[in-house]
Symmetry: C2
Subunit: 143 residues, 2 copies
DNA sequence: CCCTTTAGTTATCATTTGATAACTAAATGG
DNA sequence: CCATTTAGTTATCAAATGATAACTAAAGGG
């Protein structure tokens, strides 16, 4: 197995994934939400409940900056803090009702883009894609 | 084939890919190069020669902003313009000798991270991963 | 009970990035 | 050969992001 060649493929692959997801998300515009704030929202959506430290670590933002941006999201009533009764320094962050509605709308749009992209594929192609995703997910992407 | 479920998997998958590539690249710091400038360099490296319009389109930057950032990269002597003799409004952009050396260094570091990540996998795992990447690349990611 | 660590806040400043208008110069098309 | 389109430039301003210092308040450990 040529690991150098695999690395080359990996580079092209990740660059394609970034390209495709960029194209799929670029038209999605939410009023009064910046790019970083959107990433935070997306992270909360996928991983909720999360702590501020987790946001900070996973999105490579400093704690002060995470705090600032979260504050704006809370002011926009898109997410909320739920104090952890075991450790009152911490708190869990969840989407509010509003936030959930918003992110559902975003993901529906994303799914339309996705379905558009796969609409010409056969069932056996889709099956192969599913398996490929599973292999990468279990063997390579999860730590 | 449940396309809705496939979408869910796709979302988790892309989020994992972003996470992993973020982690692999986050320690890579080049002096006097901003994030956007690095993305431009990366794009040139993978796709050279490129035009300014291609940079602008693929990285979702306006032409004026692309021009500004490219100017800085040229001032840092990391890339250069090569006038297209067929159409003198256009020009191709390539890495300079310096830029090539720099990006080689970056990619070597990236490759070390990559090898570290796969070091415990068997040859048959790697073979599966390679095939999975190929399937996604040909059936899903390329337009 | 005190000291240290952890988790987050607030304020401030510099830098980066985004957006837009007004421009040049070359190509293209009738 | 003139008008329009294409490709890129320059300047300027506003907004977003990054970095850091000084802070609070709770938890944990001896």
């Amino acid at each position: 197995m040529d690991k150098g060649k695999l690395f080359q493929q990996f580079v092209r692959f990740t660059s394609s994934v970034h390209q495709v997801t960029n194209d799929m998300t670029k038209e999605i515009k939410i009023e009064n939400i910046t790019t970083v704030q959107y990433k935070i929202l997306e992270f909360i959506t996928v991983s909720q409940p999360v702590t501020l430290s987790e946001i900070s670590e996973c999105l490579h933002l400093s704690l002060p900056n995470s705090s600032r941006e979260l504050k704006k999201l809370i002011q926009s009533q898109l997410c909320e803090k739920i104090i952890d009764s075991n450790d009152r320094r911490k708190f869990d962050i969840c989407l509010t009702e509003n936030g959930t509605v918003l992110m559902n709308k975003v993901f529906r749009q994303l799914e339309l883009n996705f379905q558009e992209r796969i609409k010409n594929l056969t069932d056996s192609d889709l099956k192969e894609i599913e398996e490929a995703i599973n292999i990468l997910q279990t063997k390579f992407l999860s730590r």
